[in-house]
Symmetry: C2
Subunit: 243 residues, 2 copies
């Protein structure tokens, strides 16, 4: 029964944890999530049932244990990064999450299968991504609790999460394909392009005065603005920026 420090030596930290997670994933994958009991996981991993609950709290949490650690890493990253370019920072954070997924396909791929099959786990996964979204929103709001900037931040956070999930899902469907980093970056650029500019000056014209020269140009006008007026404003904006 007792096998202390014998078989699987992962790396520094807690190898026992990983060992339990691997055993649980194997059982879930084989017999199904609902059919696998905590007693079964305890027997397969060599840990007592009581200790399982002590360390992971619940059956679901065994699957999402390292996801929690990742979330803490990301939040620490956000706290440590000054808000020079909040949109870019949030995209970088999303990139960290994406990287963490593709780094351990032996965990994330079977988990994805389970998440799609079991509604309870699906809700749990969604709740996890919602936590990221909340952290992103808070970072983008930068202390403000009201005003249009908050809305813009929440919309951008939601879009960044959506874009992340979009690319991640496509990779999870085909984990043998090369990791689509380019598609990921393009997706991030897509959402940043439209909503990121709104963050700076929320609402009317985003290009005038502070056009981002090495990324893109975004021009937004109310429909009430006449066509010639739009053309004039674009011309002005381009006149200030470089060619």
């Amino acid at each position: 029964m007792e096998e202390p420090g014998g078989s699987e030596r992962g790396r520094a930290g807690k190898p026992a944890r990983r060992h339990v997670v691997a055993a649980a994933v194997r059982l879930f994958d084989g017999a199904g999530y609902e059919a696998t009991t905590m007693d079964g996981i305890a027997a397969a991993s060599g840990v007592s049932r009581r200790s399982l609950f002590r360390h992971f709290g619940s059956k679901e949490d065994i699957l999402f244990a390292e996801h929690d650690e990742l979330f803490e890493t990301v939040t620490r990253y956000l706290e440590a990064t000054p808000g020079d370019d909040p949109a870019a920072t949030v995209c970088a954070a999303a990139r960290m999450v994406f990287q963490a997924y593709v780094d351990v396909p032996e965990i994330t791929v079977p988990r994805y299968r389970l998440v799609r099959a079991v509604p309870r786990l699906r809700d749990r996964e969604i709740a996890m991504t919602a936590r990221y979204q909340g952290a992103f929103s808070r970072y983008l709001a930068r202390g403000e609790t009201t005003g249009p900037r908050v809305l813009a931040g929440e919309a951008l956070a939601a879009s960044v999460i959506a874009a992340h999930n979009h690319v991640l899902r496509s990779w999870l469907h085909d984990p043998d394909q090369p990791v689509p980093w380019a598609r990921f970056d393009r997706a991030m650029e897509f959402v940043t392009r439209s909503l990121g500019a709104m963050l700076r000056s929320s609402g009317q014209t985003a290009a005038a005065g502070e056009s981002p020269r090495d990324t893109v140009l975004v021009a937004v006008y109310p429909s009430s603005t006449g066509g010639t007026d739009v053309l004039r404003r674009v011309s002005e904006a381009l006149g200030e920026g470089p060619g």
Copy 2:
């Protein structure tokens, strides 16, 4: 012949359902969610424990029962609405959800308190909104399963949900205030303005050919595009549209 999880049975005219929900909310509010047992709800509402599970499936589902009905209403609305202006349709659907919330504050307000206090219920609420987001994404994708339009649709759906939640939360904090319909519509306009146009022709030039005359004009170009080239393209796009 019982249906596990199938929570819709009586369509209209089931006062017993509402009665049970009201009793449960009262108990949750008084003694806390965890401390309230199904036996207690059964005793307080006058139905047997077994029938509680039969009709609602789980303890959580008692709180979110009518939320499920609302979701079906919304999906039916989407299915019945042709995709003339998908972004506007999705915003209208979000408006239906918002309306359903503010229509029954005696349910939604105490539920909001519970959701904020109990992590389990919070996850459930998030999962509910995710279902809406999925339905919106599917509607915006219009059958396509790949390509940039899908990404744009998912980002827009996520933003619409975020905007909806943003305004809804502010009202839930102060339900005695008048319902902020204007703020809701402005929030929807905000996210539609930036991402909605992307939906039509995703990525490069959004205005050419089918400029939305009664909403907004959004023009997006890569930074590599020369300024004069941008000006020329905008001019072309405006030449086709109205002045």
